[in-house]
Symmetry: C2
Subunit: 368 residues, 2 copies
């Protein structure tokens, strides 16, 4: 009934719930994105918040990535400690309190760039790194339609000028077309919004006499679309593993993902379905509007993970459909992989159905 994520011998050696990656699939995903970006002539700077792992980051660099993207100073510190040099914190950094000193130290030991989207943020960064031996550069974040962070594209130039006045080197502009996650029909529009917003922003900088060396866009759903205008760099993250949400968005098969949650059937309950030991503390609770339930149980197409609690997933099945035995291990494709990885301390690394290694989630929990 199920795919061979781990052969029977390997299964007896693991404890669930656990995150299992298929290394061949991961490597294929890394190579595919690297090739696509190389063919387009743009730099690939994968978002490492998805994997938070030195080992996976190294594989991305080995395949040609220009550097890594991270979400927090804490993630950047982990990757700098691991020998990564070129890191971009794609977030509006506020370098206040103890974080100011951390940012300064980090900037002195690696090639660092950080996001800004306000004069306050720029001032905090400038104050933190003033007089440092080596200082991070900044990219101005613009809102291209996601309505999250970033300034209006036509206001990017004014903020860039302010950054320069504060003594900061402006590397360019960036955005994230997160509204491409709203559904497969939203994806092309979000990709166009990224390109159009960045073009306006780059022109806004140019009007201030500032040329953008980096024009950075990206999400997994939008990065692989072509005709990306002035974009010089893409920052997809999820592509390394993919997940249920990504598969549905892009029309790929859900069972083709490179990461699953191994879980044990712990109960048959009283309702005809079954319960697994993967709950919200490993699957997270993301449910995109175009998904039903909290993941796909591979090999049980009629099964719906209808409800999850901290440590239980309650699976409903169609009347008469087969259900796994209590004690059986089932493989769950999570809806959204990023929070899942952040909930565990290690990956179980599989190849050809055998457990070949365990790798730490090096930057787990580095939220700030």
């Amino acid at each position: 009934m199920d795919q061979v994520w781990l052969d029977p011998a390997a299964r007896t050696g693991i404890e669930t719930p656990a995150v299992v990656v298929d290394l061949d699939r991961v490597d294929a995903n890394i190579a595919r994105m690297a090739t696509a970006m190389r063919d387009r002539g743009v730099a690939l700077r994968p978002h490492a918040k998805t994997h938070k792992s030195l080992e996976f980051g190294r594989r991305q660099l080995a395949a040609g990535a220009a550097g890594l993207t991270v979400a927090t100073i804490g993630e950047a510190e982990v990757f700098a400690d691991g020998g990564f040099d070129d890191l971009f914190v794609a977030y509006p950094v506020i370098a206040g309190g103890p974080r100011a000193e951390r940012l300064r130290r980090l900037g002195e030991r690696c090639t660092l760039s950080v996001g800004v989207d306000s004069p306050t943020g720029a001032e905090s960064v400038a104050a933190a790194v003033r007089g440092a031996a080596r200082r991070p550069r900044v990219l101005v974040e613009i809102d291209c339609g996601g309505r999250r962070t970033g300034v209006r594209p036509d206001e990017a130039g004014a903020l860039a000028r302010r950054c320069q006045a504060l003594g900061l080197e402006v590397l360019g502009v960036f955005t994230h077309g997160g509204h491409g996650y709203a559904g497969s029909e939203a994806r092309p529009g979000a990709a166009e919004d990224e390109v159009a917003g960045l073009a306006t922003a780059a022109a806004s900088l140019r009007a201030e006499g500032i040329e953008s060396t980096v024009v950075s866009a990206g999400s997994t759903p939008t990065a692989i679309l072509s005709a990306r205008g002035a974009v010089t760099e893409e920052r997809p993250g999820t592509y390394i593993f993919s997940d249920r949400q990504q598969a549905v968005l892009t029309g790929e098969p859900v069972d083709g993902v490179a990461l699953v949650v191994a879980s044990t059937v712990v109960s048959h309950g009283t309702g005809g379905g079954f319960a697994i030991d993967a709950g919200a503390k490993i699957l997270g609770k993301d449910v995109a509007p175009y998904l039903s339930g909290h993941g796909t149980v591979l090999g049980y197409p009629e099964a719906l993970i209808a409800r999850i609690y901290d440590h239980h997933g309650v699976v409903e099945i169609a009347p008469g459909a087969s259900r796994p035995a209590i004690g059986e291990i089932v493989w769950v494709v999570p809806n959204h992989v990023c929070p899942v990885v952040n909930l565990v301390d290690e990956y179980l690394v599989a190849r050809d159905g055998r457990l070949v290694d365990r790798w730490p989630v090096d930057a787990r929990g580095r939220n700030g």
Copy 2:
């Protein structure tokens, strides 16, 4: 505008996002529940999956708790390592693979009981502990209406008899009226279901000649209701901190909780609201049907945390309402506190607005 969770001097020393507890409020919550259970003459066995902390567990025992409840063998190991003796794994344990040996070792070094809800589970436990110097006892889990795990109440006796035949000592029966979380109107009914289901289950055991020493119910919403029949023990967890969901369910003020997420305003975005650095990787994504948004921003009653991403909370405010400045720290009451604690490595412990300690989340991530 806001409550004094940390005074200005303390704020400059912390990094967000972070979990802050007010120790006086925690102690008051611990004392209130302990008194309520003592007055009712039932044992209190708090669920430690909420706090995952030796220090908070010790405070619960000092206030009179009989022992602790945990969700996993991993949590039990952490508390046993910390010197706790009386632990109940309120979960249908499947002691397969490496977990069998862990269960056996754990049972030899503390007074342990575990849940069973199937012959398969009972057999796995019996096989794991066979011949051990000291063995865990079992409680039969029943489903009283939550439709998660547990057998039908009238089938509890047959499973208990099976456990005895396998050489296991049966301590009694337990249930969790989780359907009391469906809304404040569901709470009394769920509490009654717990009592009725447990009475049926205890009678079912009695018909097999097995007397239940422990008849265990519990959740924070149901534990504090009176008239609890044959119940000998309650297992509430969330009461130690409370959260937005709990406050709304029980009619308590949301700003009376004992735990908040300190977060920094990182952007004003383009939509009139603001963005904070508390996203799904610290707030979790629980949204009970009777809640709007992903938490309450204290001091900003018009604010709605409308959307959260891994590292961003996007807050909408009513037109014309004031918004905090970029760089300001705001205090967020999370919807559901259990996943929040599991997403951080430490508590910032406050008293009278001052930071007095940092305590580890000892059992963070111990999912299995």
